[in-house]
């Protein structure tokens, strides 16, 4: 078990309990929380955990700021979509799309890194911003290929769709969608454990050393540029794989679900809230954020109902103002947990 976690223990009782609760909830989500919407949320949490963890590899462990993470995410998603459309529905299309998406992401990351990381880390941030915007514009303009703003709908193997009925288990109807969920769950778990291993490998330690003091890292013999480049490619490829899982799950890709700058900001927030430089922070950050995004509105609707007799309060709690409260929640969490939730739990401060 410890080997699976690469020896990186949660190092806090509360954190261990929270992580176990999240793990169990996600592992049995189709049975614990039956219903289309809750399963949708659970799958989204799984995928965002990987996406956020891969971003943390860059931001938290390597100290590199990138604004192109959704672009890599989108490359994986569009890879699956395009291959499913052009090769026809089938597992081969899914595999080809996933692999090509990941390779394309890594290659593009390699190019961007070689052009910009040699100079200064801040230059990399600017270049990623430019390239990501260009790609987003390109995707929405090339509607013949990418479906433009409407995105693409495509078919995935029938085994993974709700049409594939498999009977009942524990009083819950099991169908292809359930299988699809477990593909997402185990795929995400494997990718997360892989990232956890990478950050605890000798390579991961070098990344941290570079983050701490790149000048000295170079002076003890590490070629800093190469380490940063490899980290960037790895992070991009993992983000693309998460994108592929997302595309398989949704059976739809579009600029708003994969490429938008809003998602990029969400990822940044999830990393910061969970705790930078702690892979477990990705789990907490993604879970909290996605839950808030999906259920805060409902919760506020209920609260507004419950307080309808009071003056002003129901207006403040109106579901339409959920984004305001989401914002307040994040400002507060960053203010009270500057090292993220995981950092706070580990330090006990």
């Amino acid at each position: 078990m410890l080997h699976l976690l690469s020896g990186d223990k949660p190092r806090s009782v509360v954190l261990t309990i929270i992580l176990l609760v999240i793990l169990i909830s996600l592992a049995f989500a189709p049975f614990l929380f039956p219903g289309v919407r809750s399963l949708e949320t659970a799958a989204r949490i799984c995928i965002f955990i990987v996406l956020v963890a891969s971003y943390d590899l860059l931001l938290g462990y390597s100290g590199i700021v990138s604004f192109a993470h959704t672009m890599f995410f989108g490359l994986g998603a569009y890879g699956v979509a395009l291959s499913s459309i052009h090769m026809g529905r089938g597992y081969d299309a899914l595999i080809v799309g996933t692999v090509l998406g990941a390779i394309a992401a890594a290659a593009l990351a390699w190019l961007i890194a070689l052009f910009s990381l040699r100079v200064r880390a801040i230059f990399f941030a600017m270049i990623t911003l430019a390239v990501a915007s260009a790609v987003a514009v390109l995707v929405s303009q090339l509607s013949g290929l990418t479906g433009g703003e409407d995105g693409l709908n495509y078919k995935i193997p029938r085994d993974l769709t709700p049409a594939n009925r498999l009977g009942e288990f524990l009083g819950v109807k099991v169908n292809g969608k359930t299988l699809n969920y477990y593909l997402v769950f185990f795929g995400s778990a494997a990718l997360f454990l892989l990232l956890l291993r990478v950050v605890n490998s000798p390579f991961g330690r070098v990344l941290q050393a570079i983050r701490e003091n790149d000048f000295r890292a170079e002076a003890v013999g590490y070629r800093v540029v190469w380490y940063r480049t490899v980290a960037t490619c790895l992070s991009a490829a993992t983000a693309a794989l998460a994108g592929s899982l997302f595309a398989i799950w949704l059976r739809y890709v579009g600029p708003d679900t994969t490429l938008s700058f809003e998602i990029m900001l969400d990822i940044l927030l999830m990393v910061v809230i969970g705790g930078m430089g702690t892979m477990y922070g990705a789990i907490l950050g993604a879970t909290l954020f996605v839950l808030a995004q999906n259920y805060l509105q409902t919760l506020m609707g209920a609260a507004s109902e419950a307080t309808h007799s009071l003056p002003l309060v129901p207006h403040l709690l109106d579901p339409d103002r959920w984004l305001l409260w989401l914002g307040v929640l994040f400002v507060l969490s960053v203010y009270f947990f500057p090292t993220g939730i995981v950092g706070r739990l580990r330090n006990g401060r």
């Binding site: 690469s6 000798p202 330690r205 000048f215 002076a219 003890v220 790895l234």
Partner: protein, 254 residues
């Protein structure tokens, strides 16, 4: 004469119109400890920076173990056998003491690109790192973060990282600066031990005359970036050049 490990030929660097290091030619041999002295601003640290590659030379060359390394990057020179401890403490602040040293040994053993093994499973690196920490008497603090160490202990760690690198050319830039009187001997004894092994060459920038007298086989004096004197410590210290260029100012510094 014993083997030449490091040599600079007409090594020069100009910053705009200012010549910071002016055509310094000097060879350093195995088993030799050379003290580099000179008043503040004489170019000692800049000379070090040119040798270790932190700044590119305007003219001249550096060769290491007979190979010209003038065009090499810092990391490449390090791999070729050059190790440097810094004047201002220059560590990995949020990592543990053990990890700081382990990272150096790991670089040396070419394990940096091992992505899928667990860092803690490379026991041989940890064992080696602990042995180095023992030499500088930091073994009881291996789990502390660098930021939690006293200044003196950070200096010791700086030296430990250089020893872990096990280079052919050791470069110390005021290794005992800011250390208390009872801490400094640990570092000075280590330098004496390294010298006694007689395989490496040691370059030492130092202001403290008692340290130089105790350790140096040879002194070179830099003045306004140029080599002003080079030779036996007693002779050089007595020469007019040093009295003029260095001693006066050194006394002011004390």
């Amino acid at each position: 004469m014993s083997q030449t490990l490091l040599e600079t030929k007409d090594l020069t660097v100009r910053f705009g119109g200012h010549v910071a290091v002016d055509a310094v030619s000097c060879a350093f041999h195995a088993g030799e400890l050379t003290a580099i002295v000179g008043p503040n601003g004489a170019g000692k640290t800049t000379y070090f920076n040119l040798i270790s590659g932190q700044i590119p030379a305007s003219a001249g060359s550096v060769s290491l173990l007979g190979e010209e390394v003038t065009k090499f990057s810092v990391a490449q020179r390090c791999r070729a056998g050059l190790g440097r401890a810094f004047q201002l403490t220059n560590l990995f602040p949020n990592l543990s003491v053990l990890e700081n040293v382990r990272l150096v040994i790991q670089a040396h053993r070419n394990k940096g690109f091992s992505l899928l093994s667990m860092a803690d499973s490379h026991h041989e690196l940890t064992v080696e790192a602990r042995a180095v920490l023992e030499r500088v008497r930091l073994d009881t603090m291996e789990d502390q973060k660098v930021t939690e160490l006293s200044h003196g202990n950070q200096r010791k760690l700086e030296v430990a990282m250089l020893i872990a690198l096990d280079p052919m050319v050791y470069m110390f830039d005021e290794p005992t600066a800011g250390m208390s009187a009872d801490e400094a001997p640990v570092v000075l004894d280590l330098i004496a031990e390294l010298k006694a092994e007689r395989e490496r060459t040691i370059l030492l920038v130092e202001h403290k005359m008692d340290v130089i007298r105790a350790l140096a086989d040879r002194i070179i004096v830099l003045h306004n970036g140029a080599l002003a004197a080079d030779g036996d410590p007693a002779e050089v210290m007595a020469s007019d050049v040093v009295q003029e260029a260095y001693m006066g100012k050194a006394l002011e510094n004390v």
